[in-house]
């Protein structure tokens, strides 16, 4: 398996591995040296600033930072350009199911996309891009994330449906009730359209969501999932554009797909 990169929201990355992480009241974002599997190697302290056609992306160790202003295309472009074959992402979510509690780990397998503002595709004005999203997340990485989540807490769940919104405002109670009738479990922003963009560039992509806690210490779970993921994956994520290739619409160099 090629390299696995992680995408974390800034608040989760800031406290990754540091003392008090997972306990928001004790932790001061952005302070203290992070301690993770990369601690002592200096990897996590190394900050790389990537330039992409869609803006800058900050990388700390294996983590790409999802900030409020980061274009999702820039994140996925960076992962692809870095040679990654897989991306494990994390995001905070709000519960739609009333049975979920703060701190629960939820691995989504399906998506309802309600975003309106975020750029949803690399293939603007092209004659291709009818990518299939059944399922929208890599099933093998999702299984690894669930297994890693269960090692950490019995409150880890899989098979969830995620409602993706722009995130500029909170959902109203009536909207949450509507999402429940749609079979949704959690609601949040960040994973959509990232998951679609990753599929367009034939990356495996799966996500771990945390109910309610913006600063949860999930990097160790993602790292464990990367260890648990099969070295040779049997998923078809890396063949998402095979149809367009076979028709001669695109070549082998992904950078020419997106131009």
């Amino acid at each position: 398996m090629g390299e696995v990169l992680f995408i974390l929201p800034e608040a989760m990355a800031a406290g990754a591995g540091s003392p008090g992480a997972g306990h928001p009241v004790l932790r001061h974002p952005g302070t203290g040296a992070p301690e993770t599997a990369y601690s002592g190697t200096g990897a996590f302290d190394r900050l790389i600033l990537h330039e992409t056609p869609y803006g800058k992306v900050e990388q700390r160790g294996p983590v790409l930072m999802r900030t409020a202003g980061t274009d999702p295309r820039a994140l996925i472009y960076t992962a692809k350009a870095a040679g990654a074959s897989a991306v494990l992402a994390a995001a905070r979510v709000e519960p739609v199911s009333p049975l979920l509690e703060p701190g629960d780990l939820v691995v989504p397998v399906d998506v309802i996309d309600l975003t309106r503002l975020l750029p949803p595709t690399f293939f603007v004005g092209k004659g291709y891009g009818f990518i299939r999203l059944d399922p929208p997340f890599c099933p093998e990485l999702s299984a690894a994330l669930y297994a890693a989540g269960r090692e950490k807490t019995p409150r880890a769940f899989r098979g969830a449906t995620y409602v993706g919104v722009d995130g500029s405002r909170e959902a109203t109670p009536a909207e949450r009730r509507m999402y429940r009738t749609w079979g949704a479990d959690v609601l949040g922003s960040g994973l959509v359209p990232e998951a679609f963009l990753a599929r367009e560039l034939e990356l495996c992509y799966a996500a771990l969501t945390v109910v309610g806690e913006a600063q949860a210490d999930v990097l160790p779970v993602l790292e464990r999932a990367a260890q648990l993921a099969p070295g040779r994956r049997g998923c078809s994520c890396d063949q998402a554009m095979a149809g367009a290739r076979a028709q001669g619409l695109i070549g082998e160099d992904w950078r020419e797909w997106v131009d």
């Binding site: 399906d110 998506v111 309802i112 996309d113 975003t115 309106r116 949803p120 595709t121 293939f123 603007v124 004005g125 092209k126 004659g127 291709y128 891009g129 009818f130 990518i131 299939r132 999203l133 059944d134 399922p135 929208p136 449906t161 009738t181 749609w182 079979g183 949704a184 679609f196 599929r199 028709q247 619409l249």
Partner: protein
């Protein structure tokens, strides 16, 4: 001045046209539209547009079609109505791949498309350059006073034209328009089916709204190319987008126009 504009969807880019037909590109406030192929059916001028452009292959995916330019141009050419075909995924067992359905209603689930001409459609100075209704030919359903989003008269004519071509078309189906070009997830299809949609496609909105805004009648017949995501089916998966689709749909459109000409001579 043409009377009818036909907008062809899936596989329109595979059609071979009579080299004798005039090609015309129309400048609009939203950019150029076309090429429209102008030809005559029973002496009446008609224009054809491939919605996805392209020559031999799909040129532009649904979210990036310039719907406003296309519809504005159709009206500028003089059309009082638009006949359209759209391919769709099916959410119901009664419409398997390879079947036809005339659209009776629409759920617009698109997110990033301009769906109105706004002030331009209301400003008489602008509007009159495009939206002046010529006297309709004798025998036609007349004027701007068509009932509903999808003209009932055109719907009935589309069903009859399909039958005349040997195909039963369901007389009314609810179409959900998604943004695309990505295909829908299972959860999205489940909620659209729950909401009452039977077909899912990516092109009917905002095209029909824009056509109605400029006072044109609109009729759409859908080719069911596949089952939508997660809809269970037996046997091998079918995804029917080949050249024969465009030929059949174009033939149905011509048949409708010919039957009108026969009826009203």
């Amino acid at each position: 001045m043409v009377d009818t504009v036909i907008i062809g969807g899936t596989a329109a880019y595979h059609l071979q046209f009579d080299p004798g037909w005039t090609e015309r590109t129309v400048d609009t406030p939203y950019g150029p539209a076309g090429p429209f192929r102008i030809f005559a059916v029973a002496g009446r001028p008609v224009a054809f547009l491939s919605r996805h452009g392209g020559e031999g292959r799909l040129g532009v995916t649904p979210p990036f079609i310039n719907y406003r330019a296309n519809v504005w141009a159709a009206r500028a050419l003089g059309a009082r109505r638009v006949l359209s075909w759209n391919s769709a995924g099916s959410m119901v067992r009664a419409l398997p791949p390879g079947s036809l359905a005339v659209v009776s209603d629409l759920i617009d689930w698109t997110r990033r498309r301009p769906d109105s001409f706004g002030a331009a459609a209301r400003d008489p100075a602008v509007r009159d350059t495009v939206v002046r209704h010529p006297a309709p030919p004798a025998g036609h359903a007349t004027g701007p006073a068509y009932a509903g989003l999808f003209d009932p008269d055109l719907r009935a004519r589309l069903v009859r034209a399909a039958a005349a071509c040997g195909h039963r078309a369901a007389p009314g189906a609810v179409y959900a328009a998604t943004e695309g070009a990505r295909l829908e997830t299972r959860a999205e299809i489940a909620l659209l089916a729950q909401a009452g949609a039977e077909l899912v496609g990516m092109t009917l909105a905002p095209e029909v709204f824009l056509a109605r805004e400029l006072g044109m009648a609109y009729g759409s017949i859908c080719w069911v190319s596949n089952y939508a995501t997660g809809v269970p089916f037996d046997g091998p998966e079918q995804r029917l987008f080949g050249p024969e689709v465009g030929q059949l749909m174009f033939r149905i459109m011509l048949r409708l126009l010919e039957e009108e000409a026969n009826a009203y001579g």
